[in-house]
């Protein structure tokens, strides 16, 4: 238990001044600007926005700078900033089908309508350190090719839908409330809406490890990447005073449709089921892991035996948030002097009692006990 302490004000203030000094580093090295962070460390910014659950590149860049590049600390700063702002409402649902696609791949179809475009990807690189970057040499200009204007890119999951080989998305129930864990504490069992919100905000490392665990047999789902697409989508909002959707601007998203075998149940014929992942910016690994865990958390809905951690929604949702996790783990650093004194007294008393028992036992019995 943590008991409040006081004192240490001067030391704390000086520690924070020292932090600011160390954060800046060698003054002979040029200081990083927020634009540099937003442009050149874009995927760190995207991850902080996704897990900070706040789309604002500049604020996320500032959080990264202030946190000295510590992603979890930056997420903490962004979440704290969010609590200072009023909420105007919620957007119209994003239509990822109308995305200006920068990347779109499928592991299930090589010839899908609209084709596959790799976009800017680490895939197929050799993962060799590039010393031309260390030397600061400019990259060659990107290659260009004629673009088909407005080539349709249907969702891969729609391609199998005609034969009912793949389950449809859960239909919208008009007027049904949409779970929001920032407004209502999570209660179990949860809906898929709340689970997806929690996973979207969840720590990438934790969600990745859980997704990996399903591949290794802890709640096996045998997944395929039906489709990954990344690009920009217009966000729209319907203000009360206007009554029509107003375009707010475009946000960058990465979406993953995971397709999974399903043997069928008493009620449902065999078909492919789906897991869904969506993240701000270019968080592709996160979107994939999220889609794996979304599917594994549907075990109860699909009548599958839930035996693995990734199928246990309470385990997953209660531990996926980096802010909650770091808060509870890191609070152990705060002064626990009173608490520890009590434990110390207890251990001293138990040792004394133990010694007294030893002294009271005849030596013969002690040998027999050994």
């Amino acid at each position: 238990m943590y008991v409040a302490v006081k004192g240490g004000e001067a030391a704390i203030a000086n520690a924070h001044r020292l932090l600011a000094h160390v954060r800046r580093g060698d003054p002979a090295v040029p200081e990083l600007g927020l634009e540099q962070i937003a442009e050149q460390l874009a995927l760190a910014v995207d991850r902080v926005m996704t897990e900070g659950s706040l789309y604002d590149r500049e604020l996320a860049a500032l959080a990264l700078k202030q946190a000295r590049g510590d992603l979890v600390e930056a997420v903490f700063l962004l979440r704290a900033c969010r609590t200072t702002l009023p909420r105007f409402g919620h957007s119209a649902p994003l239509d990822t089908g109308r995305m200006a696609v920068r990347r779109r791949i499928s592991a299930t179809y090589k010839d899908l309508p609209g084709g596959q475009v790799l976009g800017p990807t680490f895939d197929y690189t050799h993962r060799l350190l590039d010393f031309t970057l260390a030397a600061g040499l400019p990259p060659p200009p990107p290659a260009e090719a004629p673009a088909e204007p407005d080539a349709p890119m249907p969702r891969v999951t729609d391609l199998l839908a005609d034969e009912s080989l793949i389950e449809p998305s859960p239909p919208e129930q008009p007027g049904a409330p949409v779970g929001d864990l920032t407004r209502e504490p999570v209660s179990y069992p949860t809906g898929r809406d709340t689970r997806l919100q929690a996973l979207a905000r969840g720590d990438e490392g934790f969600v990745l490890a859980l997704g990996y665990s399903t591949q290794r047999g802890y709640g096996r789902t045998h997944p395929f990447v039906g489709e990954i697409r990344a690009g920009a989508v217009m966000l729209e909002f319907v203000p009360e005073e206007l009554g029509f959707p107003v375009p707010l601007g475009r946000i960058a998203l990465t979406e993953c449709q995971m397709v999974t075998q399903f043997k069928g149940s008493g009620e449902r014929p065999p078909q492919f089921t789906r897991g869904y992942g969506l993240a701000f910016g270019g968080c592709e690994r996160k979107a994939m892991a999220m889609a794996l865990v979304d599917r594994s958390l549907r075990a109860r809905e699909l009548g599958e035996e839930a035996t693995a951690p990734a199928q246990d929604e309470e385990f997953v949702l209660a531990h996926c948030d980096s802010l909650q996790a770091t808060g509870f783990v890191e609070h152990l650093k705060l002064p626990h002097h009173v608490d520890f004194q009590a434990e110390l007294e207890l251990v001293r008393r138990l040792r004394a009692e133990h010694a007294a028992r030893q002294a009271a036992t005849p030596p013969m019995l002690q040998e027999a006990a050994e």
Binding site: M49, S53, L54, Y55, D56, E58, L59, R82, L85, R87, F88, G89, H90, S91, A92, P93, L94, D95, T96, R98, K110, G115, V117, L118, G119, P142, A143, E144, A145, P146, A147, P149, D150, R155, T157, S169, P170, P171, E172, V178, G179, D180, R192, D193, Q197, R201, M234, L235, F237, P239, F244, P245, V246, P247, L248, G249, R250, R274, Y276, F280
Partner: protein
């Protein structure tokens, strides 16, 4: 609305102008306002304010909605002397940009000024189209054709 779609209804036309303002750079909106050169009174209906809009998405891309995460949004509302109220709701935290866009929205609603407002936003549309086209050409160069190898051949 997708680039290249021609808006038909007045509401779609207004939304198209709003979309251009939402994606315009601050200096582009200032230049647009300078070019319109409106000298009438402007009443602030709502001072520019930054808040949050919860971005909703759909399960599976097309299913029931869920809350993905919030975005910073700045809104502003003004009224011009002839009575038209203009609104702006933009991603981000730039109050001056939202105020400029709200004024342009009000001016757009004045039938005699509408062609002027649309004309001063043309450079924004041209920049966005050029950027989208360049990005599409870069993306198109990464179009990939995979061939399945027959096992045992390689």
């Amino acid at each position: 609305m997708p680039v290249g779609t021609v808006p038909t209804t007045p509401q779609e036309q207004r939304r198209a102008a709003m979309a251009l303002c939402a994606e315009a750079k601050p200096e582009e909106l200032r230049a647009a306002l300078d070019a319109v050169a409106y000298r009438g009174a402007v009443e602030t209906l709502r001072p520019a304010e930054t808040g949050l809009v919860m971005a909703r998405a759909r399960i599976g891309g097309d299913g029931s909605p869920f809350n993905l995460g919030e975005a910073t949004v700045t809104r502003a509302a003004v009224r011009i002397a002839s009575g038209e109220a203009g609104f702006a709701w933009h991603l981000g935290r730039d109050a001056a940009r939202a105020e400029a866009a709200a004024l342009l929205d009000a001016l757009w609603q004045v039938p005699t000024l509408r062609p002027t407002v649309e004309a001063v936003l043309v450079p924004v549309a041209q920049r966005l189209e050029a950027e989208a086209a360049r990005e599409a050409r870069h993306t198109a160069a990464t179009r990939v054709e995979f061939f399945t190898m027959v096992r045992g051949e390689g």
